[in-house]
Subunit: 191 residues, 2 copies
DNA sequence: CTTTAGGCAGGACAAATGTCCTTTTTTGTA
DNA sequence: TACAAAAAAGGACATTTGTCCTGCCTAAAG
């Protein structure tokens, strides 16, 4: 559930070593807002190290977390294909090391480097494959089942990510998350 | 909410006229299962005419509709990038005319035809942009608001798509959909 | 004309989740 | 160590949504 893409980060490292024009290394501290929803940017980012969250804020100020981004995940890339505003905000959770690509650099790579093109294509397809079942699962199953699934897939989750973020990821209030966690504790004891 | 991509269908028409190898025209009747979840296929489809639904079935047999596909929408393409099983089933609603691409044809086009490559890249990005806010909106707002939004964006929806499908698209039971519709009718009267 | 199957509407109740608080625990800092 | 601020836990109640039925209506088939 903290998504990764080692292949893409490895290949980007190679490109960077080659001195591709328009690629840079950058760093961010924890809890920094990197992209803001409904804005326009001119760079694409790829995480080398650290964790970020990508979320949508609705008009009531509730945040709905789309995904947690780990090594090799890129963001800000959707806006290059159509000239549109960002749909998500991205904020670092831990401190972050990233590669940044200028738009023209990214476009050049897509055109001239078929391996890069393929990797980005795969990354987009993975994002779709990831998003689709997630929401239907969350809708169709009670909160407790969602928590169990999370814990199975990523046991150390509570050590890295706050309760509030976990609740926003599952799409429930912290109150409901607590209730479900209590329910699970009780079931565990009695068994 | 019935998504379209005229640019892609127009360009595919051009490719087909050129006689690209591995492209075919096919037709389906209404309510036909074209792709089944958790299976492997060797073709990619692109809708020329008609409407289909793309949905996920969970273990309890509930279906959650991901999107309604109209002209220019492609499906079966996610599985070509990673060698994986389909995550959705796709079923025609009306009768359907489609182009089909064999995997090798599709791969060749991606590699040799940059315009095609770009169009597919855009289509993937659009799918992501479409899915993200949809689920967060559905989660964050009551059913009535979701219905109003649907009706605003697509007034003739009830003429094409059954109540059950609409409910499965919003992610609620038909009972809840009815309740919400009744609520809306009452509000309308009193105003 | 009757029969039957399927879609649609809705009543009654149960269960899940949200809202609004208060209390407890943890954490960071003077 | 002590204090303030933030995060987490949970009680009480309201609201939303689901489940399980029943009945109505329509259309297609005998």
């Amino acid at each position: 559930m903290i998504r990764k893409n080692p292949e893409l980060v490895a290949y980007s490292e190679v490109l960077f070593q080659k001195g591709v024009d328009g690629m840079h290394e950058e760093e961010f501290g924890p809890r920094q807002l990197i992209l803001e929803q409904d804005h326009r940017y001119t760079k694409i980012y790829l995480i080398k190290k650290g964790i970020a969250k990508c979320y949508i804020l609705d008009e009531n100020g509730k945040e709905f977390i789309q995904e947690f981004l780990g090594e090799g995940m890129e963001f800000g890339e959707l806006e290059i294909f159509r000239n549109k505003l960002t749909i998500c905000s991205v904020e670092s959770i831990t401190s972050l090391k990233v590669f940044s690509f200028t738009y023209s650099c990214f476009n050049n790579l897509l055109k001239a480097d078929f391996k890069f093109n393929q990797l980005i294509m795969k990354a987009l397809a993975d994002k779709i494959r990831y998003k689709a079942p997630r929401h239907s699962y969350q809708h169709a199953y009670p909160i407790e089942d969602n928590i169990l699934k999370l814990q199975r897939m990523f046991p150390e989750i509570t050590e890295v990510i706050s309760k509030k973020d976990i609740a926003n990821y599952i799409g429930v209030t912290p109150r409901s998350l607590n209730r479900a966690l209590k329910g699970l504790r009780e079931k565990k004891q009695s068994s």
